[in-house]
Symmetry: C2
Subunit: 333 residues, 2 copies
């Protein structure tokens, strides 16, 4: 195992420490228990947004802490849910009196621990809502889930709900738009190579030099099937077709096209996937009104990509375009 | 070879096409000959900045086209210099009457082709200056260079000179600060794995599972030596010591610390390197006033990282902080 780490035990703590030092203008790291908040948390009168999950998917979630997105991120060990002991203080730290929304990817550990934390925080007087992200069309149930996994759509939920909170929407309204984004986004990914969890020291699965895994999860958990290597256009079609079928997209729909890298794939390849996906969508009469291309929800050093497609409405577009100022996602003034 | 590509011959054209479609609000792709300009080029009265080089280092250079950085980027084939036939029209396209600065990484092909292009553009009446970036302390001469290679420092030259041009500085002043940044920046990198050029189809060099290459070039060309795998702190020290020795940094110097990913290394590992580098610098009394961490100058899917250290002065800090708005680097309002 070759990684730029010191000790599998200290990977998350040291990485978050470096992250906090590099972005001290935007975020604050709370060390024990570990969580990350906006520098200016809590923002009085604003709904607080908390997300979290296993580490190894960076920049998700800590890279999205800042104005117009998350108020707090709670990192677990690599590919391991954070504990209620972390989620509760993170929740309390970002409650500005308007309540807190938990954005939870649908993995069993995350769901249980966020539920427990929500009950405890509620008992302390914080109004809590939760939204479960389950956008992955690849499999109906998975190694770590009952129901569909939460993947790339999480980035879009965090961004758009974060914008609604920043606009001053109520807790119910922020929860409603987070749910609406989840209901209108579908994703699917492909792995060209496996990834190695530091603790394990060996790749999480085996792929031969001629194989790829269609429908891969962000922890390297199995997808739909393995196939022989194909060209980028063929692979893109294999990801996009199930997304379009499940989403029920039709001509004249407006969409956001998100091509995400799994961590080890060059940007140049992501743009080749984007090019094909956009062509296919436009050929079907869909309007690609917004785009996002890059490494936003990763699986350590895995080579591969995922596509997420979000059906847009006017409110989502306005929220998407509003200012966002985080370590990993920035625009607006 | 597993890559998200269709054909080694079309990698650059298709990738740039996707890039142009995804960032049509910021850039414009000119297809034949291939180059990328700011959407609003030429900006009248502003010095134009042109850079370029072999593809495979994305986001460098096209990802840095936009307000406060480059006016044009000229991509060659993967790891191959662009031709004067591309550089000349790119130069003419961004001349707003105040002249054009060429920012050239010190590789023999780039140097020759930019020189030829500069002569031709000068003959067409454009005032041209050139700055050669040669910040890599690893080796004095290399496979593709006479003298030191241009690596991570290029990103800092492009940003700070781009800010000076945006501020309205004259061609001589922009060239002077570009040179000053180059004179005050030093870099060194490490490879944990090789990369595969699409045309070649096989890795550009061999590393065993226990070896890393210290002082690697951004094309996989040899560095200083191969050593057995070490932990992140040890590797960071091996990169930082030659940089500090060559830069002649001393206590109370103000620095910008740039930890760059080679393309296949997770962000979490880059922050572990950043953490150690910052500790070492602060222990020596240096003030880390600005930071940059991420994949900014890559070698396809290579796993590894580089460190660049820039000695700052007041003017550089002011320029660094001024607004930049490109696909890959954004801040300010």
């Amino acid at each position: 195992m070759k990684k730029l780490i010191n000790d599998p035990q200290s990977v998350v703590a040291e990485s978050v420490e470096g992250f906090g030092a590099a972005h001290a203008d935007l975020v604050q790291v709370h060390a024990d228990p570990l969580f990350i908040t906006r520098r200016d948390a809590p923002v009085q009168g604003k709904v607080g947004l908390v997300s979290g999950g296993g580490s190894g998917h960076e920049p998700l979630h800590a890279g999205f802490v800042g104005r117009g997105m998350l108020d707090a991120a709670v990192p677990g060990a690599v590919f391991t849910s954070p504990t209620p002991d972390q989620i509760i203080p993170a929740t309390l730290a970002v409650d500005g009196g308007a309540g807190v929304l938990h954005i939870v990817k649908n993995y069993t550990g995350d769901v249980l621990n966020f539920e427990t934390a929500a009950e405890m925080a509620q008992a302390e007087g914080v109004d809590i809502r939760s939204v479960l992200v389950n956008d992955d069309v690849a499999v109906e149930d998975s190694l770590y889930t009952a129901g569909r996994r939460g993947v790339g759509g999480t980035v879009l939920v965090e961004r758009i709900a974060g914008a609604a909170a920043e606009r001053g929407d109520s807790l119910d309204a922020v929860a409603e738009i987070a749910q609406r984004v989840n209901d209108n986004v579908r994703s699917m990914g492909v792995a060209l190579s496996a990834c190695t969890v530091p603790h394990a020291g060996v790749p999480s699965f085996d792929l031969t030099d001629e194989e790829i895994e269609i429908g891969i999860g962000i922890h390297g958990e199995p997808g739909r099937h393995r196939i022989a290597m194909e060209n980028a256009d063929g692979i893109t079609d294999r990801l996009l077709e199930p997304i379009l079928a499940d989403l029920g997209a039709s001509a004249s729909d407006r969409v956001l096209l998100f091509v995400n890298g799994m961590g080890g794939t060059p940007a140049s390849e992501l743009y080749i996937v984007y090019r094909r996906a956009r062509q296919v969508l436009e050929d079907r009469g869909l309007a690609v009104e917004r785009s996002l291309v890059g490494n936003y929800i990763t699986a350590l050093e895995m080579q591969g990509a995922s596509i997420s497609l979000l059906k847009l409405d006017d409110d989502m577009v306005e929220l998407w375009d509003s200012p966002v100022w985080t370590p990993a996602l920035r625009w607006g003034v």
